[in-house]
Amino acid sequence: MTPRPLARALASGRGRAGLALLGAVVALALVGPWLSAYGPNHSDFAGGVDASGGPLGPSAAHLLGTDHLFRDELCRLAHGARFSLLVAVSATVVSSAIAALVGTLAGWTAGTRLGAIDHAAMRLVDVLLSFPYLLLVMAIGAALDRTGALTVLLVLGATGWLGTARIVRAKTMSLRGEGYVEAARALGGTAPYVLRAHVAPNVTGTLLALSVASVASMILAESVLSYLAVGVEPPTATLGRMLQEGQAALTVRPRLVALPGAVILASVVGFGLVGEALRDAFAAEDRRG
C-alpha cells in the first residue's frame, strides 16, 4: 500500500472540498457543546417563551435557539453529529471488515475446487440484497427490541457489507488472473502468502474508497432509523430524530429541520466527495501500474 494515491486523492479538488465539509462537521461535533451553557437534554424554561408562546429563537444564551422542549439546539446538534459520525464510522469499520473477509474468500475460491464457498457466500448476498434495505434494518432493529447505540451500529454493520463484498470479490477474481499472482505461485508462494502480499495491497485501495463512501450511506441510514423511531431511544440527540421532531413545526420553525438537515447533508456530501476522490486516485494508480 502506497500513500501516494491517498495523498493525491486528498489534494484533489473534490478531496479538498470533501475534507472541508467533514472538517466543519467534526468541528461542530467537538466544539459545539462548549458553545452552550446547557446539556443536550436540559430544558431551559428560565428564558420564558417568545411572542407566539413557543420556544425561544436564537439568542446570546442559545446561539441557535431552542427546540420544542426548550433544549439548546446547538448543543443537541453537536451531540447528534457526534453520535451519527461515531455510529457511521464504527458501522463502516464492521461492514468493511466483513466485506473484505467475505469478498476475498469468495473471489479466491470462485471457480476452483472450493467454489462452493463462493456460491454460498454470494447466494447469501443475493438473498440479503433482495430485501428492501430499510425494511431489513427495521426488522432487525424491531426484533432486537428498542435499541442502544451498539445495536444500531451492529445492525448497520451487518447489513452494509453486501455491495462492497461483491466488488471486493470481483476485484479479487481479476487479481487472481494477473501474471504476478501466477508468478508468485511459480516461485513457491502459498495461498496465504499470495493473499497477503498481492491480493490485500491491491484490494485495499478499492476497499478504502468504498468504505469512505459507505460512511455517507451509514449516516443516512442511521438518520432514517432515528427518524422512523427505530433507532436509539429518546432523549438521546441524533440528527434523524431532530429532523423528525422539528418536522411538526416545519412551517413556523423551519430552522429546527434545516439545521440537522444541513449537518446530514454536509457529512453525506463530504464523505461522498472524499470517497470519489479516493476511487479515482486508486483507479489512476491501477492504470499506471
Binding site: 516461485l187 513457491g188 491491491n202 494508480e285
Partner: protein
C-alpha cells in the same frame, strides 16, 4: 543421461459450461497426450498458433495447471503427484517468464521486492542481505542499479521483461519456461531480450522450454523444436532438421507464413484453408485433416495418427 524434464502422455482437459443446474458438461482437450523431454542446457521450442495449448502445456509441466493425466519427471523424479512443501521446494528449480510484461509485475511493489520475491518466499534472504542478492541479478539482466527502489511503471516493456527474467533467475533454477517472452515487445527490443536469454543459458547452463508462435525467433535460439496443433505435437525434430525439411504439412504452412524481410524474394506460399477448429469439437481422425492438402478421405478423417518414433518425428499418415 536422464533428461532434465520429461513428460509422458500429459493431458490437460478443462470442463466447460454446465453450471450446477445444467447437464452436459463438455471438455476442452487443451493438451492431449503429449510427450516431450528437455535436456540440461537445451532449448526446446514449442510452436503453434494461438490456442493450440502450448501455454497450457508449459504451465502443466510446472504444475501451475494440474495435468489431467500423464506423468512429468523432473531430474528423474516424478513430480506430477507432489504437493505442499515438496512442490514448493521443486519450484526453486523450475521457473517461468511470462508473455505480458505489464500484468506479470505487481504495480505496488518495488523492483527490489519483485526480483527478491522468491528469496523472501523461501526465507533465503531479507533486508540488507536481500539487497545484496538482488543487485547482481539486476546487473546481470542489464538494468541500472538504481532500478531497485523504483516501481514497474517507471520501466519500458523490454526493461520490465528483464525484471521478470531477474525474478525467475533469483532462485537459480535449472529450467525456465519462457511463455512467448518477446511477443509483446517491439521488434528492436525483442532481439535484446532474446540475446540476453541466450547469454544466460550459456553462462548458467539453463534449459529452456521456449513457447512461441514466431518461427524466426525459434530458429535463432532453439536446439530442438516441437510443433503443436490443437493440443497435440504433430512434428518434433532438431531445429536444423526442421528448418531444412518439414515433414508435417502443418509445419510447412506455419513456416511459409513467416514474413521474409526482402521485397524481391520469391516466396513459395503455402496457405492453409479455413479457421483453426474449435478445441471443443475437434475434427474426427487427424485434427488437421479438414485443412490439409494431403488429406485422404477414409484414412485421415477416421484414424488419429500417432507421433512416430523417429529422430525427426511426425504425426501424419502421409509425411513428406
Amino acid at each position: 543421461m536422464t533428461p532434465l524434464l520429461e513428460a509422458s502422455r500429459v493431458s490437460v482437459h478443462f470442463p466447460v459450461g454446465g453450471g450446477w443446474l445444467s447437464r452436459g458438461r463438455r471438455v476442452v482437450r487443451a493438451v492431449d497426450d503429449v510427450s516431450l523431454s528437455v535436456a540440461r542446457g537445451e532449448t526446446l521450442a514449442l510452436v503453434g498458433e494461438s490456442g493450440c495449448g502450448k501455454s497450457t502445456l508449459g504451465r502443466a509441466l510446472l504444475r501451475l495447471v494440474e495435468p489431467t493425466s500423464g506423468e512429468v519427471r523432473f531430474d528423474g523424479a516424478d513430480i506430477s503427484r507432489l504437493d505442499g512443501a515438496a512442490l514448493r521446494q521443486l519450484r526453486r528449480r523450475m521457473q517461468i517468464v511470462f508473455q505480458d510484461p505489464y500484468s506479470s509485475l505487481d504495480p505496488r511493489m518495488t523492483v527490489r521486492d519483485i526480483v527478491g520475491e522468491g528469496l523472501v518466499i523461501h526465507g533465503l534472504a531479507r533486508g540488507a542481505a536481500l539487497d545484496a542478492q538482488v543487485a547482481p541479478l539486476l546487473e546481470r539482466v542489464g538494468l541500472p542499479r538504481d532500478a531497485m527502489g523504483r516501481r514497474p511503471h517507471a520501466f519500458s516493456g523490454g526493461q520490465r521483461q528483464r525484471i521478470g527474467i531477474a525474478r525467475a533467475l533469483a532462485l537459480s533454477p535449472e529450467l525456465i519456461v519462457c511463455d512467448e517472452p518477446t511477443s509483446a515487445l517491439d521488434v528492436s527490443v525483442q532481439a535484446q531480450v532474446l540475446n540476453l536469454l541466450v547469454e544466460l543459458q550459456r553462462e548458467l547452463g539453463l534449459a529452456y522450454l521456449f513457447i512461441s508462435h514466431d518461427l524466426k525467433v525459434v530458429e535463432h535460439l532453439a536446439h530442438r523444436v516441437a510443433v503443436m496443433y490443437l493440443g497435440r505435437i504433430v512434428e518434433r525434430a532438431s531445429a536444423e532438421a526442421l528448418f531444412a525439411r518439414r515433414r508435417h504439412p502443418y509445419s510447412d504452412a506455419l513456416l511459409s507464413a513467416v514474413p521474409v524481410p526482402d521485397p524481391r524474394a520469391k516466396r513459395r506460399r503455402l496457405t492453409v484453408a479455413g479457421e483453426p477448429p474449435s478445441p471443443l469439437s475437434p475434427p474426427s481422425g487427424c485434427a488437421f485433416h479438414p485443412r490439409c492438402p494431403r488429406a485422404q478421405p477414409g484414412r485421415c478423417d477416421v484414424e488419429v495418427p500417432a507421433l512416430s518414433d523417429e529422430e525427426h518425428a511426425v504425426a501424419c499418415f502421409f509425411p513428406a
